[in-house]
């Protein structure tokens, strides 16, 4: 089983490396967005899949990251390479400050509170015209400065940049969930009282998972900002949070690679209905209800069943 998974991962990375060599710009563009969403769903999985609390505000951290990085470069003249890590740390700290009181609330209350928080961030981005330019959107964001002679204004270079950080972030998450920190997180998901009784500081680990998950979403936001170079609040509205939840569930929560596959599959379906954009979210919600009805463990659950595993 291990061998098969490792081969699958290696093959996927090789295919991703070679896509820009033969694909059209449109395909490259779609794959970049899919990879950004894969970072989002993988980081979302750390909180909701591994640790347990159901969150509906992941796109808010994505948006905070995007706007923070864009504004840092626009207003202070910082380069992307400086703004990128600062953005990650800032969103991490911000999430820790929000998560500390919010995660004391258990169950549905937390889920509903994240929903409000997501909406609140969206309203903030929309209404703080002086800072974010509100509904007109933020323009003129520069691509990352060239390093090692690579010019990041080309779509191919952006592609490899996102791929590089995507692999790095997913690798980090993989190491994290396989470590004893990951085991503590899963213990909390399985039984919070029992986890406490064996000495796990559950509120600390929950805030840690929330903040890391948010910080990584912030990094995805920074990548998006300097690739797309135009930001609008609706890119980070609650529908986008909802999309991340659906992608992660379609793939299979708590498996790390499931949500990544989910991001790819859902993005692919969304491209199929591109001519009728109003059908996109209808398709997404039906997909979610079908997953809940027939395979709550998502695509990973289906794969495991086919292979006869539990």
């Amino acid at each position: 089983m291990f061998v098969a998974s490792r081969i699958a991962i290696a093959v996927s990375i090789i295919i991703l490396i070679f896509i820009p060599q033969f694909a059209s710009n449109y395909v490259i563009y779609v794959v970049i967005l899919a990879m950004l969403f894969a970072i989002l769903t993988a980081s979302y999985d750390l909180l909701t899949g591994y640790t347990g609390p159901l969150s509906f505000c992941h796109a808010a951290f994505y948006g905070l990251g995007a706007y923070t990085s864009a504004l840092l470069t626009l207003r202070t003249g910082m380069s992307f390479w400086q703004a990128f890590p600062i953005t990650g740390i800032w969103v991490f700290l911000f999430a820790a400050a929000v998560g500390y009181p919010a995660l004391k609330i258990r169950g549905h209350y937390f889920a509903v509170t994240t929903f409000f928080f997501g909406h609140f961030v969206y309203l903030f981005l929309l209404n703080s015209r002086k800072l974010t330019n509100g509904p007109l959107g933020l323009r003129g964001i520069r691509p990352p400065d060239s390093i090692l002679g690579i010019d990041f204004s080309s779509i191919t270079a952006s592609y490899y940049l996102v791929l590089f950080f995507g692999v790095l972030i997913v690798g980090f998450l993989h190491l994290l969930v396989k470590s004893r920190i990951g085991r503590s997180l899963v213990s909390i998901r399985e039984n919070e009282d029992l986890a406490e009784s064996i000495g796990i500081n559950t509120s600390f680990y929950k805030v840690l998972a929330f903040s890391i998950s948010a910080g990584l979403a912030g990094l995805a936001g920074s990548l998006f900002a300097h690739f797309f170079r135009f930001l609008h609040p609706t890119d980070f509205a609650w529908m986008i949070s909802e999309m991340i939840v659906i992608m992660a569930l379609v793939g299979g929560l708590g498996t790390l690679f499931g949500p990544i596959i989910g991001a790819g599959v859902v993005k692919f379906f969304l491209e199929l209905v591109r001519p009728a954009p109003e059908l996109r979210f209808i398709l997404l919600s039906i997909m979610l209800i079908l997953v809940l009805l027939f395979e709550p463990k998502g695509l990973v659950g289906i794969i495991r069943r086919i292979r006869g595993e539990k």
Binding site: F56, H108, F116, H119, F281
Partner: protein, 280 residues
């Protein structure tokens, strides 16, 4: 001074809409343990259907209100019977399903009738003390519905079963009432209230696919602030939020009118994790 009174009045009007949606969500949450986001969809669909009934079939507004309540009841009944009921006890799945339904119907409405706002024709002309009759009607109808729900919950046998089941899910069976029946009834009650709220608010603003988002969010805030309180607790929290929000918009900043609810929620939950009227 007059502006202040006017603002408080408008706050009470919008607050009674929040309270209506919140009342249904509150009862559903305490019985079925799910924050029923699909009430947001019911709000929108009922508003659209009664709009078409008034503009195309030319039925009187009062009938449109009843129609909206029936549509809401029916939708909630179907959602509970065929979806939520499968996952009783699995709150996480129910919540995801509720959000999926909200998302689905908002977008179905958008696909069917476009995002363009529709104007509900005025059904009453004239005003009193600076408030149009249509605004006053919102408060009056909301008050009547509150009294009816209160009587229903306090005086009928099924109401007694609902109160018992909200304390202990098996308690209703002692009264000889099936827990499935209690669930169906509370969802239908919630649906009717959300449907009524949707139809009541339509003539004041406009009808558009995302018109349910804010009332839904505010109603959820009200429910949490009320801490599964009584009918009265929901009413006070709903009206209070409406007034605070309108005053905030008038005297602080209107840009954040819809953010105040969140701020209040965080402050209250930080200090009173069980809400304002929460039982221990």
């Amino acid at each position: 001074m007059d502006t202040l009174l006017l603002q408080i009045g408008n706050g009470l009007i919008i607050g009674s809409i929040y309270a209506l949606v919140a009342l249904g969500i509150n009862v559903i949450w305490s019985i079925a343990d799910v924050p029923d986001f699909s009430q947001g969809a019911i709000f929108v669909v009922s508003a659209y259907i009664s709009y078409f009934a008034v503009t195309l079939a030319k039925i009187p507004y009062v009938l449109a209100l009843v129609l909206g309540m029936c549509v809401g009841s029916f939708m909630a009944f179907i959602f509970e019977r065929f979806l939520y009921r499968r996952w009783r006890g699995a709150g996480r799945v129910q919540l995801l399903c509720a959000i999926a339904l909200f998302f689905l119907w908002t977008n179905v409405v958008n696909a069917l009738w476009t995002a363009k706002a529709k104007m509900f024709p005025a059904y009453l002309k004239g005003s009193m003390f600076g408030f149009s009759y249509m605004r006053i009607a919102v408060v009056v109808v909301a008050a009547i519905l509150f009294v009816l729900v209160y009587l229903f919950i306090m005086k009928t046998k099924i109401g007694k079963a609902i109160r018992a089941a909200s304390q202990e899910s098996e308690a209703a069976q002692v009264l000889g009432i099936n827990i499935n029946t209690v669930n169906s009834v509370v969802f239908m009650l919630g649906g009717a209230l959300s449907g009524a709220a949707g139809v009541l608010v339509s003539p004041l603003y406009a009808i558009f696919p995302t018109m349910g988002d804010l009332p839904l969010l505010k109603a959820l805030v009200v429910v949490i602030l009320g801490g599964f309180g009584t009918v009265g607790g929901v009413l006070i929290c709903g009206l209070g939020l409406g007034v605070l929000e309108t005053l905030g918009a008038g005297y602080l900043s209107s840009a954040y009118q819809h953010g105040y609810a969140f701020v209040i929620l965080i402050i209250v939950l930080t200090f009173l994790p069980k809400g304002l009227f929460g039982k221990v």
